[in-house]
């Protein structure tokens, strides 16, 4: 059986941008999100993402459980499943995958062994202003058979212009329109699907 080490990961522009806008909206706290998609041959396609939480209670179970159940219910009707986890650390220069992130990732791994963990790389994000780069500004981790999450280099955005579009959105402060699961729990009229975001 293939281990996570032989799969490529391709993330759709919209899913990618959503996660980063979420991180930019909440600059001063950790944020996380789930990656939704499917396995297609030897490629894991990340077609959607749902930003989850931004409050400091990221390490608590109840909101996470509700979120995962709802998200799983919604997307399985479309033939998609949870294929990974996104995390952005609180501090700018912190490029370490923390224990909370690892625990959540382990949980997702149990249901999808090719699960990807993406960690936001702030320095790369900052560098996008000055240097054109098509690579995603995230660090990819996959899990090996010895239960460790290792850095891998096999992620690309589906559309090469993803970072350019991201810069556009950044200058127009589009992050104000992002809704995450935390916002939904505080006000259920807010749509965590962000269906109107890119219209």
């Amino acid at each position: 059986m293939n281990n996570g080490g032989e799969f490529r990961y391709v993330i759709d522009q919209n899913a990618y941008i959503k996660l980063i806008l979420h991180a930019l909206k909440h600059k001063t706290s950790s944020v996380n999100g789930v990656l939704i998609g499917r396995l297609s041959g030897d490629v894991v396609e990340i077609t959607e993402s749902v930003p989850l939480f931004h409050c400091s209670q990221i390490g608590l179970l109840p909101p996470l459980e509700i979120a995962l159940i709802m998200i799983e219910e919604y997307y399985s009707a479309q033939g998609l499943s949870i294929v990974g986890y996104f995390h952005a650390n609180e501090r700018f220069d912190d490029l370490e995958l923390g224990t909370v992130a690892k625990n959540i990732a382990d949980h997702i791994y149990r249901y999808f062994p090719q699960a990807a963990v993406l960690l936001l790389d702030n320095k790369k994000l900052g560098a996008l202003r000055n240097k054109k780069d098509t690579a995603p500004v995230m660090q990819l981790y996959t899990r090996d058979s010895s239960r460790n999450w290792n850095v891998a280099n096999r992620i690309t955005t589906k559309e090469p212009s993803a970072n350019i579009l991201l810069m556009d959105f950044t200058s127009s402060e589009k992050w104000n329109d992002i809704v995450d699961f935390d916002d939904h729990l505080d006000d259920i009229s807010k749509d965590w699907l962000n269906s109107e975001l890119f219209k």
């Binding site: 709802m70 219910e73 919604y74 700018f92 220069d93 994000l125 996008l128 202003r129 009229s189």
Partner: protein, 353 residues
Amino acid sequence: MKKSPSIDPHSSLLRVRQSPPCFKNLTVVLRPQLPRQRSSRSQLKVAEISNLKIKMVSKTEESQLQQLENQVENRGGGAWEYLSLVRKLKLRRSDKVLKHGLTILNDPKKRSALGPDEWTLYEQVAIAALDCQCLEVAKDCIKVLQKKFPDSKRVGRLEAMLLEAKGSWAEAEKAYSSLLEDNPLDQVISMRRVAMAKAQGDILGAIEWLNKYLEIFMADHDAWRELAEIYVSLQMYKQAAFCYEELILAQPMIPLYHLAYADVIYTIGGLENLQTAKKYYASTIELTGGKNTRALFGICLCTSAIAQLTKGRNNEDKEISGLAAAALEKDYKQSSSSKLSLLSSTLRSLKIQ
């Protein structure tokens, strides 16, 4: 006739007279650690500014703030009122404060119209500038204040914060220590130490400083909350629970603490903890008049988990979860009808329906 009135989410008997600060409006005020902003703008480092105060903002204050913010952003005036409100509520809106504060300060007429408040504004803008890593702006503001108030401890504090923002930790630590020598009971400076530890990634050091701080200032509720949150981020749930217990003892009518405590206790797990969590979710619902979605979900999660552990559902749990589920469905039907079927299938998978 409901057997347990305390968990009747439809009860209109609001024990609390005024509307309690909603959990939703938990706005973070000047966190201890000004994490480096992950912006694609220039800032590479961020200053750790001011207090670590996580203030709870009431709904009316929140909407007032939002209104003023929109007004000012759309050039409708009211910048000074906005800045004063941000100052009063101790919120962290550094980019907006910087933008609008500078507009006032750079205009000599507007500046003189402020009178003695001019200096307060300089301080506010300096701090916002530090947060946004606009160190030159901060330096200029501090210089102005230094000229006006030489030998001032308050300005000395700003100078130390500037060192922090630059990342000169050792010098900042020296500056703070000397300020503390003259004034050992200065809360703000003691907090800065915690902030610096956190910013350098020394979370355990931050915990140590915060514990020392709480030994002296044990009535500082925001500090207890900060400590609880740090513990949660390190998954030290038992210690976090202790902090929330202190908070509930000190201020038992604040639903936020009950809710956070329930979340932590649920996360620790185990039958007894699940029962306790259920009680605290119930008290949150009571204190908020049934308006707290998180607590309603919490009840459903608890009863579901308890049923799994005890291999069966007792009648009281069935009743409570039924009530919570009904309240959720009513809310979703009203405010989020597109997600109603999703909610129903979620509740079904928790075996509530």
